[in-house]
Symmetry: C3
Subunit: 256 residues, 3 copies
């Protein structure tokens, strides 16, 4: 395990001090895990999912996560309303284009449309980032079939085109703003065996933005915190079942 | 930890003997935790959420929980149908006005409308109870920004006006029927770091009503059981991740 | 605990080798547990739930689970589209008629209609199988009120009529193809106290079908794996809370 960098510890301290209300929009089966990870890290989350509630709620939220897992048409409408309100209010938001690819053309089109509202961070696996950048991602479903390295040029182009920090998750995560690209190693092979770890990472990045951390640092600290907590949890886990609560415990303990 | 009062142990024994089918309507990300808490405590739950199914199902359920977490318009319609059917059948129900407040005016109006169908128990945090009683709750999202003490006059007025037992949750829970007001101490600071503990408490109160326990006792026993299980679980937990399964274990073991 | 039969170990090895993408359609509160169980066992799952996405996605999925837990009208439409696409593509699918019975006539009609699209396996508790076979199941909600033995004639008739392997879950599971009927003992009394264990069993059967295992063996291996992992987990669990992660750990370790 890498020790948590001091700048990540400082960002987490800011998160705990401000406890930003993070508005999460997702149909993911892991909504509960996302909420618990945000609580463990020190943020607060709300999963307002109704189109009619979203615009009014935007003023209360300090950051927004839009995760396309198990999205439905009403939820897609709520997402459009939420990012429009976030853009109008200057509230930072994270786009997680979960499972986009050739097998889900409607969702791919939704991700592309949402991109126009200017996310601060885009986080996906290699297949999702390749798809979102306009290439052939090769994914089908939640898992990447391409490598992080293969997706890096697409990630860099996407970052330059949109102004977002783009994160490509995998055995080693990579982040880029289109100029600089950095790896964040760590984590554990058990992490992808717990549904929602990737979704929760996007949520933590949003919460960090809500605490006032700039996009590059929010992306980097999110990856570092998950890598650190994941590696520590794996040392105490007998499998993916016991890994999940151990991971939340470590996320809670990080830097305290 | 306070030992579980003997009357609470007796109520839990009634719950386990009758195993009441408790109909839970909520969009909360913690639906799985609510269901697991009810199973651990000794009840059975069903999460029928379709408007067309709700009325027919009402005859089978012994109690109903209406929790406004992540409510959507179709779910709101199902809630209206469920409480109307419950009222017609004399089935007791619990209202949990989750996250109502100035940031969610539509949800606040929904809670107010549902109140007219006569819940046996209303359970919320201080901000939610202040909002429901017609005041300014100050909440935004799932967390209270007001103290339990500050919400007590509103809770008492709400109880007198509606005939419901009103529970204000917080570090020390308070319940009132408008005449008498009582505190239930206990629990642990880790509890609010596990999403759905409050929702599950409302579910347990509904299940106790379904077992034939009167509203005041159902509210008090629910709070006492959660306080007791929470305090016991915290002694075995390394953080919020390990707290959640330990809490369900203790809820299962309570009074057995 | 029975040791895992060698044919079950061989089927799980095939599952891990092929890692079949299993499309799960359900509104169950336990969606996260289903996904985690599939990941632990060695499969991959996707919970695409939008009618417009389902048909395109069918080509990517190797198997489909249709579980009627907490179904809503839009989800029911997605289920119809998914089984039609599965049938057209020759993709095997599992029907779990969760909670059908007299209290939920709309859901019972949905299960009957879906049956016409030819599931490879139908898995339910005794009340659900009795209801689906056209009898009086006596269930109300998620729990069976009839015994496995009482449902066996109905299960056998249903298997002969539909060509599906029919599984009746209970303290001892039974499976039948209408000619041969077999018991699979094992498991533990804590299993029904964790919401979604039955749903996850249907998911594992679907994943095994997706790995190329024939229906009878997929049903038998699914039951044997859950019986084995459940019995092993119970020896390490203090209650239903700690049982759930221990169960996932054991499912992950099975036969490795």
């Amino acid at each position: 395990m890498l020790p948590l960098p001091s700048e990540a510890a400082s960002d987490l301290a800011a998160l705990r001090r401000t406890r930003p209300l993070t508005h999460c929009l997702t149909g993911s089966p892991a909504r509960m895990f996302i909420a618990n990870a945000l609580l463990a890290a020190g943020a607060s989350s709300a999963m307002v999912a109704s189109e009619e509630e979203v615009a009014a709620f935007a003023a209360a939220a300090r950051a927004v996560l839009v995760n396309l897992g198990s999205v439905t048409p009403p939820l897609a409408r709520a997402m459009h309303a939420a990012v429009a309100a976030a853009r109008a209010a200057g509230t930072p938001w994270v786009l997680d284009p979960a499972a986009i690819g050739a097998a889900l053309p409607t969702r791919t089109a939704l991700a592309t449309a949402l991109l126009a509202a200017g996310p601060a961070i885009v986080k996906g696996n290699a297949s999702e980032i390749l798809t979102l950048s306009g290439g052939e991602g090769g994914g089908s479903g939640p898992d990447a079939t391409a490598s992080v390295a293969a997706a890096l040029p697409a990630a860099e182009a996407l970052a330059r085109r949109t102004g977002a920090v783009v994160v490509v998750t995998g055995p080693v995560d990579a982040l880029t703003d289109g100029q600089e690209t950095r790896d964040v190693p760590g984590g554990d092979a058990l992490m992808p065996l717990v549904t929602g770890t990737g979704c929760a990472l996007g949520g933590l990045m949003a919460a960090l933005l809500g605490a006032g951390v700039p996009p590059w640092r929010a992306a980097q600290t999110g990856c570092a915190a998950f890598a650190d907590a994941g590696a520590a949890a794996a040392r105490h886990a007998a499998g993916p079942g016991s890994f999940a609560p151990a991971f939340l415990d470590r996320l809670y303990a990080l830097g305290r």
